[in-house]
Symmetry: C2
Subunit: 248 residues, 2 copies
């Protein structure tokens, strides 16, 4: 079922009203009709089953049928930061980690980033749209926050708001590492920030600065993962550990 | 360090000889010189550190310095089967699951596959090349097997050679599910086959046929994962569970 994210004021009691891009999507892209069902999410993460009552030229009217109780949000709020890479790679990672339950996404200009940060307002708007669409498709209740690109110094300051700070360090790729499992298990209900480096990896100087700031370095197993793959491994690990039940 | 996969006969005692595409890669793409180090893998999964002795017009001569003992292969041999989707999606999944340690890859023409299987010899050769390159980049010791596309009936017969057979079933996406964790933990040293459906999912008829054939249906958590994302989640889960150490 198609899901739409609405402002709280668009939902009043048992009625909802959709305008703008989402209305266009219902009317002209999905070609829905009165009686069709959709799911709606408000800004507080509440989800509702709704039925289309009427599709007008400029707006869609809906009746809310019931609240949806099942939980589709990951138990930890995981923000993924990645060393600045090409725009297409950023967008692909953002789309995937949104499906996998991430709470936020940003890029960081790092020593070994080959790409330069560009003027970013249009780019940021585009990322917000990608996050919203991917959240709708994967039946999320929240749209991940998109923070744009930060300098490494800005990133260190930004990290202060998180309770658990992790970076994936390639130097550790060949050791087995218990730290990652331990941190994931400790992350329920917490704000977590995980940084992966750009293509050339995190420099020793950056690694030292991160450790000083309270980041824990973790290994992601014995194979070398590309920068686009590491964030998916990380989000999958959180989901697997926190969401799938143990039998014992 | 660049890794190359060689036939066993290319390695004789402490000497190795590289010809063809890999020789071209060393000479013209990487522009290496005598004294540069590379790593080599033979067909039995042995890895060696080697030094380039001489680069000739048609071949590269190498001296083997030592055997590399560290293990980069996943403890379970996991083959990913996915419902037939567009070629670009297949190739992207193949590249990623190779990095994540998969032992094999194939596609299956299923009821809800929108794409039709094409004449496949060139396509299969291309997939083999992708698997080899991704295995080299991620420092694997083995190149995943690539089986091409099978009909659903052929796939059921193909599955008989595997000890653990799993399919990801979207109907289960909203339940927590202990089966997946249990099966992963039981998979060390085993041959495992995991099927994910095409975009429209696995049909109820197909699900019944799979169960009759000994497949266990598992859920991958509460969010809807796209067909390109589910195989990465699956491989990450195997890696996370089997390769990262527990602290206790």
């Amino acid at each position: 079922m198609q899901r739409y994210f609405l402002k709280n004021e668009a939902i009043k009691g048992k009625k909802a009203l959709i305008r703008g891009g989402d209305h266009h999507h219902i009317r002209n892209v999905m070609r829905m009709r009165s009686g069709d069902n959709v799911s709606l999410c408000d800004e507080d993460g509440n989800a509702f089953l709704a039925e289309i009552a009427e599709i007008r030229t400029e707006e869609t009217l809906l009746n809310i049928l019931e609240k949806i109780e099942s939980e589709s949000e990951l138990g930890a709020a995981v923000t993924i930061a990645m060393g600045l890479v090409r725009r297409e790679k950023q967008e692909e990672v953002l789309r995937r980690i949104t499906e996998l339950g991430a709470a936020g996404f940003l890029t960081v200009s790092m020593e070994r980033s080959v790409v330069k940060a560009r003027e970013k307002s249009a780019h940021l708007e585009r990322q917000k749209r990608i996050a919203k669409e991917a959240a709708e498709q994967s039946q999320r209740r929240r749209i991940p926050n998109v923070y744009g690109n930060l300098s490494f110094e800005e990133f260190l300051d930004f990290s202060d708001q998180f309770e658990i700070r992790i970076f994936a360090y390639e130097e550790r790729a060949h050791e087995k590492d218990a730290a990652f499992k331990r941190l994931i298990r400790a992350s329920l209900g917490k704000e977590v920030l995980v940084l992966v480096g750009p293509e050339g990896g995190i420099s020793p100087g950056e690694a030292d600065a991160l450790k000083e700031r309270g980041f824990v370095s973790v290994g992601l197993g014995p194979r070398i993962l590309r920068v686009e793959t590491a964030p998916l491994y990380i989000m999958s690990a959180f989901g697997y550990e926190l969401e799938l039940e143990d039998e014992s």
